[in-house]
């Protein structure tokens, strides 16, 4: 990852969402992007020029645009109409974003389009985040990383965020996704955690 005096940046065509630039590079704001917050808090999953990424819950394409600055190609899945329009605009300005207007709970819809990837990023607001990750782990190479942004409050507001994350970890036990680190995103995001998994076929 590229750092300038403690500021996370990415190099690419600017002006995607009014982001600041620093020495000609695009500032990747940890308060806006959970993935940026993960790197600020010591995240060590590298995205490099040969990394293929599957990004679930691409939304307006702000984080996706930064990931695309680092990666070789990003398969960006989004299911809602209005964010999809913005995502298409972002993808139009970058040659390595493949916009997929599909439902991440139904990977069969986009299966014939998506190669195996080395990195799976999941940032969806859904009660069954673990299930979605498992269903999409077929796209992940053996040893590849899955970064799951767990939105504890979107899964269940009535339980404590810690319990929700423990439950997600339990659901992932025994699946090809082996849970590694859990990183809470305070002070950048409240009640959000990043779960880093590695794919190992049992």
């Amino acid at each position: 990852m590229i750092w300038i005096d403690g500021v996370l940046v990415s190099s690419g065509q600017g002006g995607v969402y009014g982001e600041r630039t620093l020495s000609g590079k695009r500032v990747w704001n940890p308060y806006r992007s959970k993935l940026a917050a993960y790197y600020h808090l010591g995240g060590d999953v590298e995205i490099g020029p040969s990394t293929r990424v599957l990004y679930l819950g691409a939304a307006h394409g702000t984080t996706v645009s930064h990931v695309a600055d680092y990666a070789e190609i990003v398969y960006a899945v989004e299911n809602a109409c209005i964010p999809m329009r913005d995502l298409l605009a972002v993808a139009a300005g970058r040659k390595n974003i493949i916009p997929l207007f599909a439902d991440a709970t139904r990977p069969r819809e986009y299966g014939p389009l998506v190669e195996t990837v080395q990195l799976l990023v999941q940032d969806v607001a859904h009660p069954d985040q673990a299930g979605i990750a498992i269903a999409n782990s077929v796209f992940l190479e053996e040893g590849g990383a899955a970064i799951l942004a767990i939105k504890a409050r979107s899964i269940d507001v009535s339980r404590s965020p810690r319990e929700v994350v423990e439950e997600v970890c339990r659901t992932l036990t025994g699946t090809p996704l082996v849970v590694g680190k859990v990183i809470w995103l305070e002070p950048y995001h409240r009640d959000h955690a990043i779960l880093v998994c590695r794919k190992h076929e049992p």
Binding site: I73, C81, M84, R85, L88, A91, A92, K95, N96, I97, I98, P99, L100, F101, P107, R108, E109, G111, P112, L113, E115, T116, V138, F139, E141, V157, S158
Partner: protein, 286 residues
């Protein structure tokens, strides 16, 4: 056999699609999605070995154009449906109300400050009466705003009639129960007819009462009895003790109505009559 967007692989032999023509590739993908095949991992090398493309750049370029084209097509299809039109219309209607109320309130306050004889109580005036009051103001800005508000209210009435007409067409049973505008608001809150049809009655009951609902779930305040459906006459006219019961019954019937609207799409007079009776019974009327 494993099928990919660029061709099929069977028995170690790959048959590529005949060309890079996007429409043809897209139609083939639609057919593929109907099949229930297991995902067999692949990388772009397969497309090269297949003879579909020569380079990585070419692979990405064709795939990117194909996916962009499909996404744009699907977006266009969704935004052109009458049901999405209805969602936009009702959101506009609510925004007009909000804007008109803000402008009226602000103008009345100014008017009151100019004319000490004008009682503060009148600041709560709304609608027609408020506009008349403002139109009589000596301040040219205030009276001009009154004129604009009158125009806005005409636009609002026309829009409201259009919403009722379209809702009666798109969701005849839901509209039959609660009227077109309230039905359209429920549609807007759910984000589409198919989503509304999949909601449980208990969710329909509190659609639009998000703050109260989350305050209940987080800190155990009393649960909300009603959301958008409160706007329906039989709910807000019911006595306080009856309102919860009426809301529950109405929401239950609305859940059925939305399903008939979504999956059958025709009015069902028998259902509407029995549902109407059930709701009246809940309200204590025979």
């Amino acid at each position: 056999m494993a099928s990919y967007w660029f061709g099929d692989v069977a028995g170690g032999v790959c048959r590529p699609c005949p060309g890079h023509e996007l429409e043809a590739l897209s139609d083939r993908l639609d057919l593929l999605s109907e099949k229930d095949e297991r995902y067999v991992p692949f990388t772009w090398d397969l497309a090269r070995e297949c003879g579909f493309v020569h380079s990585r750049e070419e692979y990405i370029a064709v795939l990117r154009s194909l996916c962009t084209m499909r996404a744009e097509k699907e977006l266009g299809r969704i935004s052109r449906t009458p049901e999405m039109e209805l969602v936009y219309m009702v959101r506009m209607l609510d925004q007009i109300d909000e804007a008109a109320n803000l402008l009226t309130g602000r103008a009345l306050e100014w008017h009151a400050a100019k004319d000490p004889a004008f009682s503060r109580k009148l600041c709560d005036l709304r609608g027609q009466k408020a506009r008349e009051m403002l139109a009589g103001s000596e301040n040219p800005v205030i009276s001009a705003i009154a004129t604009e508000l009158t125009h806005l209210s005409e636009v609002r009435s026309a829009l409201s009639r259009e919403i009722t007409a379209l809702a009666t067409d798109v969701m005849p049973n839901s509209s039959g129960l609660v009227g077109g505008v309230v039905a359209a608001r429920l549609l807007s809150a759910a984000g589409g007819l198919s989503r509304l049809a999949r909601l449980p009655a208990a969710t329909i009951q509190v659609l639009g009462a998000r703050i109260a609902l989350f305050s209940h779930l987080r800190s155990g305040t009393p649960p909300p009895k009603h959301g958008i459906i409160y706007q329906h006459r039989r709910v807000h006219a019911a006595g306080k003790a009856r309102r919860g019961k009426v809301s529950r019954t109405l929401a239950a019937k609305l859940a059925i109505a939305a399903r008939i609207d979504c999956y059958r799409g025709r009015p069902d007079p028998g259902f509407l009559e029995s549902a109407g009776q059930a709701i009246d019974r809940a309200g204590g009327r025979r």
